[in-house]
Structures are given as C-alpha cells and as structure tokens.
Symmetry: C2
Subunit: 269 residues, 2 copies
C-alpha cells in the first residue's frame, strides 16, 4: 500500500497546480495524474454528467492502483465526492473544496470570506455550503472570475490586462464587506496569485486550494500510515483524454516544470 501512487484527477490541466503543491509537500510519493481534457470544462456540464465523468476517470486511476485520490477539479469536488467514495470505498478521496473551505474558516477573523471561482463553481455554491457547515456565522461573498481561467491558460500571469481584470472582479467584492480571506476556488488561479494579491491588498489572506489540499493529504497519509517508504524521489505519470501536446505545453505553465508530450499517455474514456 505504501508504495502505491496517489491519484490526482482533474477536468484538465488546472489540477497541475495541485499536483505541483503535492509534489513539493510529498517529494517521495509517486503520482498518477489524469486530466479529462476531452470533456473540459466541467463547470458548464450538468451534475449528472460530471459524476459520470468522475467515476470513469477514477476507474482508470484505480485500475493502475492508487492509495488515495485527490479530486483537484472544483466542479467534480462539489458534486462527485459522495459517488466516488461510495464506488471506491475504502479509498480515501480528498476534494479541493472541502480543504479550501476548512482553511478559510480557520484563517478568517472577520468571518467575511470571499470565494472566487469559475461561473459553475460559484453558481453551484459548494464553497458557501462547506464554509457555513463549518462556521455557521460566516458570511460568504462569492464572485465568478471566468476570465481568470483564460488569462492563466494564456500565460498572462501578471500583466496589465490581468491586473485590470482582477480590479474589475475584486474591487466590487471587496467594497461590499470587510472580507479578510479570499479563497482561490479554481485550480487555475494560483498562477495569478501575484496579480490577485496586488489588487486584494495586504489585509486579505489568500487561501490557495492547491496548498491546502496538499497539507490535507500529508495529514491523511501520516494518520493512516500510508506514506511512501522510499527514500528516492517518486514517479510522475500523466494521462490525458485528449490532446497530449497541448496538455504538455500549457500544463507546463501550471506545473511549473516541463512536461514533455511523450510523458503524457492518451486514454480513451
């Protein structure tokens, strides 16, 4: 069990920011990453479709053998965790939404928590539900920041356009209430962290779902005694359901290190 890899599932390449954080926190673990690029974005799909896609994608990872599953996709985390846990018990399944909500509740002093994500994540209200469940007095202020996804994929991490976009989205949110905590509720957003922080200002703590989920996984591996016993660096294996070339090229931006097209295996779901 110890030496099985950790599975990471995302709708595409955004989850590579989560893999990057996991890799930094757990350098001796091996990882299997599956990006369901053929069917991204999940945010505009119906919950029933997202559950079906998540089950299919997880089946591929489980066939290879994994000891824990991280659902890096916010949309899938919001709707598919119960189905995944039921289908693959006793596999531990960790979602970015739970981790991010938990961290935000711990960090916020004012209780006014901002959440930014895709249109689908914000409309679904998943962060709001998870935050209120943990801290019923909290006030959640959510804002869809759809353009951030395109900015991240374009590699415009901190350009004048990025800052102007952050201003347009965040200024109204921050003027509405004394928000002191802002959850980056989309796996694409950590790469825009500088621009978002510059607009949000020093009084606002950013909660990076990639980092919080990595901390969460560290705890679970320790608690369950599942941590890798190897002393060497773990392996990385990438699967994509479409376009390994684009996965490698744009994915390298998110992963923060080069992924070569030949490292990405195409799987047909």
């Amino acid at each position: 069990m110890h030496n099985l890899p950790i599975g990471v599932f995302d709708s595409g390449i955004g989850g590579l920011t989560v893999l990057r954080a996991l890799r930094q926190a757990l350098p001796r673990e091996s990882f299997l990453y599956l990006g369901d690029t053929a069917r991204l974005p999940y945010g505009t799909k119906t919950p029933a479709s997202v559950v079906r896609y998540a089950l299919q994608s997880t089946a591929v990872l489980c066939q290879q053998g994994i000891k824990l599953l991280v659902v890096a996709c916010n949309t899938a985390s919001a709707v598919a965790l119960p189905s995944l846990r039921a289908a693959y018990a006793p596999l531990p399944v960790i979602g970015v939404v739970e981790s991010g909500a938990k961290a935000a509740c711990m960090v916020s002093r004012s209780g006014h928590i901002g959440v930014i994500g895709t249109e689908g994540t914000v409309r679904g209200g998943s962060y709001e539900r998870e935050i209120i469940a943990r801290r019923p007095s909290a006030q959640v202020h959510a804002q869809a920041c759809q353009l951030f996804v395109a900015l991240a994929e374009e590699g415009w991490f901190d350009t004048p356009v990025t800052r102007a976009t952050a201003e347009a989205y965040l200024r109204p949110l921050l003027s509405r209430a004394p928000v002191d905590t802002l959850v980056l509720g989309c796996t694409h957003f950590p790469v825009l962290r500088e621009a978002i922080a510059a607009v949000a200002g020093p009084g606002v703590t950013l909660v990076d779902s990639a980092q919080t989920v990595a901390q969460h996984v560290v705890h679970i591996l320790e608690n369950q005694g599942f941590a890798a016993m190897e002393s060497k660096e773990g392996d990385l294996v990438f699967f994509a359901t479409e376009g390994p070339e684009r996965f490698a090229r744009v994915g390298s931006l998110f992963f923060g290190a080069t992924i070569r097209p030949e490292d990405v295996t195409l799987v047909d779901l």
Copy 2:
C-alpha cells in the same frame, strides 16, 4: 425542398452570431441550430475527434431534414468539410473559413491580411491555406486571441479590459506589416467588433465571418432555387448537447435576442 430549414452547426454558442447574420439576411428562412456544448471547445481537440463530432451533429440535423448546412464552427470548418460533403452529398455545406477567406481576398488592397482566431484555428492554419489558394501573393499574419473568447462569453464586449486585451494582441500584429484587412476568424469575435475596430483603426477593414457566410448562403439559395417560398417569418429551433440553461443565457448575448431555456432542446449524441 424550399421550405426545409437551413441547418447551422457549431461547437457551442459562438455560432449564434452566424445565425443572427443569417436571420437578418434571410428572414423568411427557418433554421435548425445545433450547438455541441457537451464537447466544446473543439479548438483543443484532435482533427479526428472534430470530424467525428461534426458527422454526429450533422446526422441529427439531417434526420430533421435540412436543405443546406452551415458549419459555423471555425475548427470544424477547417477540418470536417470534406467528410461532411462526402457523407451528406448532395447537401450544400458552407463553412465559415472559406467564406471569410474569400471576402478577405476581395477586400484587401495591400495583400497583407490579418487573421485572428482561437489558438486551434491559428495553429491549424486553415485561413492561411484558404487565402493563399485564392490569392497566392497574399501575406497572412495570424494571431491567436484566446482571451477574446472568454471576454465575449463574459459579456465584456467593449470594456477597458477588452480594449487593453485587444491592444496586447493586435498592436504587435499591426506593427509587423501594412495589414489593411483583419478577418474575425472566430464566431465569438463579432460581438467585440467595436473594441477591435477601435484598436485596429480606420485603415483596417474588419471581415466578419458571420456576415460573409450569410452572404454566401444567400447566393447559393438563389443559384439553386432553394429559397423559402413563405411570406411569413421563418421558425427557429435550437438544440444543445449540454446545459440548455447556459446555452439560452449566454447564447442570448451572441444572438442579440432572448433565447429562453424552454426553446432549447437537449440532444444526446
């Protein structure tokens, strides 16, 4: 034959700018529009997948009965026309790429033609090929403007962010060469026309693929004697392969008139 509708196929909602132009040019025609929203965006898919999706989508339209097919999706226009023509002959099949390239060749005096589109369209080089085939001396200057897609879907048609983005994409393109014609090589871009025109300046003629394809269809219906004989306004029927609610909401922006969710029929491909 005359009273059969015209089929319009797109990967999603962008093609509604094409439908809008068709509707304005041909108010007495009826239209069936199919947006393959479950599998958008096509631009990041492999050509083989795009051909398969286009054949499946067209099959749905042909089952209903159509007299002509407009492929509003640039990616599908670039790779799937030969397969569609072979599979559904003698159905006339019109693609936005051919129409846009033809118009650009007629309009340009300098022979320096700019083409803007999605990453997929620009990498595929379809406009370049179609332009050079018609005007071998032309110089084509292509620029991927991926963020324009997100700006259009966000409804930020002419905001400071839109203009700053247009500056970032178009200024280098326009300084490289005496471009006098700019092809809007993505169905999303006509709604950003004002912002694009403001940055391009009065010396650059914009070729709107939605309008040029509508003119093309007018000619074909006249030449083949297929035009509607009705004196009343034609009918509109919408199909989407996922998320009729979002199709209606965001689609209304592109269509320039309200589409109600109940007007959109979900089809499973």
